[in-house]
Symmetry: C2
Subunit: 217 residues, 2 copies
């Protein structure tokens, strides 16, 4: 198909497609003339993946490029690709990580994770981000929130068992690789949306309970 | 304390503090001279909250302002504040929401939520974001990921019950209000970090299992 049809079928504006081509996120079409190229269903599929990472996953273009190049690299697969996807969705560190308070939070994060026998890299970005959140909660005197830590850890381990099994069940390597990327990025979008909706529901319910109890009913 | 001491104790650079003052995120100190003001521990605490929302929660300045002004509004409390916090952390819509595919995903999202009897606003932003993720997964042919939906919903409901109870247990309204904000924003940071670590662990484990099985061991 022509680039105009690619734009029409994907719903992605022409200048944006040209931008992705220039930036190397989208591979070039087969040249059919001096200024024309032919695009395939593979391009359409790739374009959908790019938009999912950016629009739904909230990745910056650089992050999407990082995930896609790991996906294209035949040397990077399975477990290593998961690492690449995690690094790409990690927000750049903005918290101050030099203070003794942060170092203590970092040690606490490591205790949670290694205390459960999880095999993760000692320098995983997610471990630093967990420490950022712990340090912030402690700095704000919201220590009671940290009593949820074990519950969160148990729940995420249970989810990860199902998530990873689902991806491995695909068998076919290319499909597994795409599953890792979309499962990490879009799965997180599903989970956080549902968490907000569940909180809204429970908050409405428990607040109503309190009001009724106050009425003596 | 002087603004220089506020900067030193908070670790926030002076120009940044002045920016927050100008933007109204931080309330002014008590004037002690033509160009001097006195800042209290309340300012220090507020500054920590601002940084937690921006650095750890990843909110833009406008989002932080939105959460803080809901927090300062005596008319907004409990359940309504949760809504304000959710709106602030919601990413601006970037996905195309006009297509029939999206409308179908939106109906599917509503089915998940109302099918569980959750009482949420029919126009909750999180419901649109859930639809974004569903539409993206279907568009990419990753439908098998959607089999996790019920598990995610059950897990987030369980978590929300504990999270909301924890905040209500504080009793004191100001503390509850701050708990809603930090629990929503920083709790999400804790949960997503742990999810990535759990995935890393399980992926290492299950991949190793596959390799051993392949070896006939």
């Amino acid at each position: 198909m022509k680039i105009s049809e690619l734009s029409q079928r994907s719903g992605v504006p022409l200048p944006t497609i040209k931008f992705y081509l220039r930036e190397g996120l989208l591979f070039p079409g087969a040249a059919t003339g001096r200024n024309q190229a032919d695009y395939s269903d593979e391009h359409l599929r790739r374009l959908r993946l790019i938009r999912a990472l950016i629009d739904v996953g909230g990745l910056p273009v650089a992050g999407a490029r990082q995930v896609l190049s790991a996906l294209d690299d035949p040397e990077v697969h399975g477990h290593a690709l998961l690492g690449a996807a995690h690094e790409a969705i990690a927000r750049p560190a903005r918290a101050d990580r030099s203070s003794p308070q942060w170092q203590q939070a970092r040690a606490e994060a490591a205790d949670v994770v290694f205390g459960r026998g999880w095999q993760v890299c000692d320098d995983a970005t997610a471990l630093d981000q967990l420490a950022d959140a712990i340090a912030a909660l402690r700095g704000l005197g919201q220590d009671d929130m940290l009593t949820m830590m074990d519950t969160y850890a148990a729940v995420t381990e249970q989810l990860a068992n199902e998530e990873v099994a689902l991806v491995l069940a695909r068998g076919e390597p290319a499909a597994m690789v795409e599953g890792v990327v979309t499962g990490t990025v879009l799965g997180e979008a599903v989970l956080t949306s549902l968490r907000r909706l569940a909180q809204e529901h429970v908050s409405a319910q428990q607040t109503a309970d309190q009001v009724s109890a106050g009425d003596g009913r």
